[in-house]
């Protein structure tokens, strides 16, 4: 997504990336980034929370309007929940499951090889 934004900027179309994977977007480097510290999946606000979504839209538009230089990151004020266990579950590698992961990985690679070389 960030690479698409960069290409548009290079071709004179202003952009704002809105998302939650802060390090990936900032490493790539974009003109404007509106960051919400949420689990991946709802960069534009919690499901069904129209007020929050409207706020995020308003902030994204303001960023388009007022940013005066590249690499401008603004963080929205929203938090996902008091309980922060979501930070510990996504892509979590549990030590006692390592053997199982390896087997799943092998199966996945076999599947990928099959797709790459059909027939």
């Amino acid at each position: 997504m960030s690479l698409v934004a960069r290409h548009l900027e290079e071709n004179k179309i202003p952009t704002v990336v809105v998302g939650s994977a802060r390090d990936i977007v900032e490493e790539c480097g974009v003109a404007r980034f509106l960051f919400t510290d949420f689990p991946l999946g709802n960069p534009f606000g919690k499901p069904w929370d129209r007020q929050m979504q409207r706020s995020i839209m308003d902030m994204a538009l303001s960023l388009l309007q007022y940013a005066w230089q590249g690499r401008t990151t603004v963080q929205t004020p929203f938090t996902w929940s008091e309980d922060e266990t979501w930070r510990k579950t996504f892509m979590h590698v549990s030590e006692d499951q390592r053997e199982a992961y390896k087997k799943l990985g092998d199966a996945r690679r076999a599947e990928q090889a099959k797709v790459k070389k059909p027939g």
């Binding site: 952009t15 994977a21 999946g41 990928q112």
Partner: protein, 168 residues
């Protein structure tokens, strides 16, 4: 109570994905793009005169194919009329936190309705009549050389002045 932590609080998906794929036996870590220079274009018109476009990585529907890998090969960059947007975008093949949340509400990741409201209330001039889809691609070259120029062409054709890119 003051919370103190020896780590940054936001997650590093670069660190997480490296550890995760290593555990699954992928020997070479994915090398994320890292730029020093960032292109920047100022918005030259008031928002109230701008046409705004939206770009998503979600699919319009589940593509044929038994596996994610098979479906991935069929994914294409697209432009699609806003008034024919799917009731639910297909996001199952993308990587997001399905333990903590869901994508049943399109506007939480593809805010077509929220943007339409801004056109109605005059905050923006108009919403582009089409929205644009790109695939998240392992190949950065493909994204830069094929997908991005295609999105640019769509935007030019629709007279889009600025673009919002919500990243799932």
């Amino acid at each position: 109570m003051i919370k103190r932590t020896p780590y940054r609080s936001f997650l590093s998906y670069i660190d997480l994905s490296r550890e995760y794929y290593a555990a699954y036996g992928y020997s070479t870590p994915y090398a994320w793009i890292s730029h020093q220079q960032v292109p920047f274009t100022r918005l030259e018109k008031p928002l109230s005169e701008c046409r705004i476009g939206l770009v998503t990585t979600a699919d319009l529907e589940k593509l044929p194919g038994d596996t994610k890998q098979e479906r991935h090969l069929l994914r294409k960059v697209y432009a699609h009329p806003v008034d024919k947007a799917p009731e639910n975008f297909y996001t199952r093949d993308l990587q997001w936190d399905d333990e903590s949340t869901h994508t049943d509400d399109n506007d939480s990741f593809m805010p077509l309705n929220r943007l339409a409201e801004c056109a109605e209330n005059g905050r923006i001039g108009s919403a582009s009549p089409r929205f644009y889809g790109v695939m998240t691609d392992y190949s950065q070259g493909k994204t830069s050389k094929k997908s991005a120029p295609q999105v640019l062409e769509f935007c030019k054709a629709d007279g889009v002045d600025a673009v919002i890119l919500p990243a799932l």
